[in-house]
């Protein structure tokens, strides 16, 4: 589903990874554990084509992302659930509009799992704008937007960062529920292990 083969990536001639290789396990909740500023977001961005590797291959759903043109990358993104580290809710849309924006703007009749509102306790937030929400509420909406369409692969960048312990448990349970009942594969980048049931990916690379 996602495979990195000898990927090298550097910023301003400073290498982050050299010959990074790993593969995620389909139908599992995979976690990548890396310290602060070690390239977690870069790995995820390379999956959805927001960053390009200097060399090597990034394979997602049998596509080599590095070979895709921009239209191809946009098409690939339509089958990925993304949970951003910096939340990224659309500022002039309500929570409901944010959650429906993808189906509305891509003109696809996607099924929205409204059970997620209940599971994350965000039903009361649906008509509010992002600026009316606390950071933890915004984070929950960000998570809901990533999983609501039941895309086969969800990539999440530190999804629990802004959540209290109770909400962290709720989100972990939601991920487990979606994985077990709907077969959704997760790839979560995190600073520390989240749950013992999650599969920790072993990253093979030479440090920059």
């Amino acid at each position: 589903m996602v495979e990195f083969i000898n990927v090298t990536k550097s910023y301003s001639n400073y290498p982050i990874f050299v010959n990074l290789s790993f593969r995620i396990v389909p139908n599992k909740i995979n976690q990548i554990i890396l310290p602060q500023s070690a390239g977690k977001s870069t790995i995820l961005k390379m999956i959805y084509g927001a960053e390009k590797p200097d060399s090597g291959f990034v394979r997602v759903f049998d596509f080599n992302v590095t070979d895709l043109n921009y239209t191809g990358i946009l098409l690939l993104r339509r089958y990925l659930g993304i949970i951003f580290e910096d939340i990224r809710l659309i500022s002039n849309m309500t929570v409901k509009e944010n959650l429906k924006a993808i189906t509305r703007l891509t003109k696809r009749n996607l099924f929205l799992s409204e059970e997620i509102f209940e599971m994350l306790s965000i039903e009361h937030l649906l008509d509010k704008y992002p600026f009316e929400l606390s950071i933890s509420e915004q984070s929950l909406v960000n998570i809901a937007r990533g999983v609501i369409y039941n895309f086969p692969l969800v990539i999440a960048d530190e999804p629990l960062r802004y959540l209290s312990f109770d909400y962290k448990v709720k989100v972990i349970n939601l991920f487990k529920h979606l994985n077990e009942n709907k077969g959704i594969t997760f790839l979560i980048a995190t600073l520390s292990p989240i749950d013992d049931d999650f599969y920790t990916i072993e990253l093979n690379y030479e440090k920059g």
Partner: protein
Amino acid sequence: MRRDNVKIALFFIFVSFVLTMSILMGIFFTMNSYVQQKKSKIPFYIFLKSSASPKDVKDLIENIKQFKGVDRVKFIDKKEALKRMVKKFQIDPSLFVSNPFPYSIEVFFKPDYISEQFFERFREYILSPIVDSVKYPKRVLEEIEKVHLKMVYFSEIVMAVLYGVEFIVFLSIMTIFYSHRKFDYDTLKFFGIKRFTIMRLFLKETMTPILYGFLFSVVLVVALYFIYEKYGQLPFISKELFQSAQKDTFILNIVIGFFFTLFSSILVFLINDEKV
């Protein structure tokens, strides 16, 4: 929904653009019409030979009326001319043994046609055996033409510079608008939404305050008309003339304002938008 200051700024920029340019352009048009009116009052005199019969005069008048640019033709009878002079200078009519005046015709032209070349062309056209001589106030015409030309050049330059400046203002506010929304637009791209769809969203967002600005301007202009109708009066310029010039320029500037918004939005989007 939170107040969006960039949209408010765009709204006021559009309103101030429409009102400023309409008023300024209206003033220029009114001044132009005023000078044109003055020009159209310059007469072209045709003095006829004493041998001219009433039928010849009638034919000549008909012929003059056929000439393109002629606004009105006035026949001045010998007796009437004498009577006018006697009245104007308060002379005793018994001093005249015979009437010294010939038959004459005064011709007035439409404002757009009046120029020295046109008068000369008309002079050639009018030559006939019954015409004794023709005259027109050449120096007055030259002076008015000069002033009119200078006024037209001045107003064209002022308007061109102002439109240029206004377009730069529109480009600047659109750049601020785009930068303000870039984070959201990039997020949408991460969900696979096409740039064309995002451009449509951007255009919708920029055109909405313009639409409100248009409605607000209409209300404001109607109010200004009402106030001007009741209390306003520019010296030497009729209300009708001023108001008709204002109405045309208002509509024109609304259209230009919409075009500026649309064009600057598309330009700013195409320049700034990135493939992320």
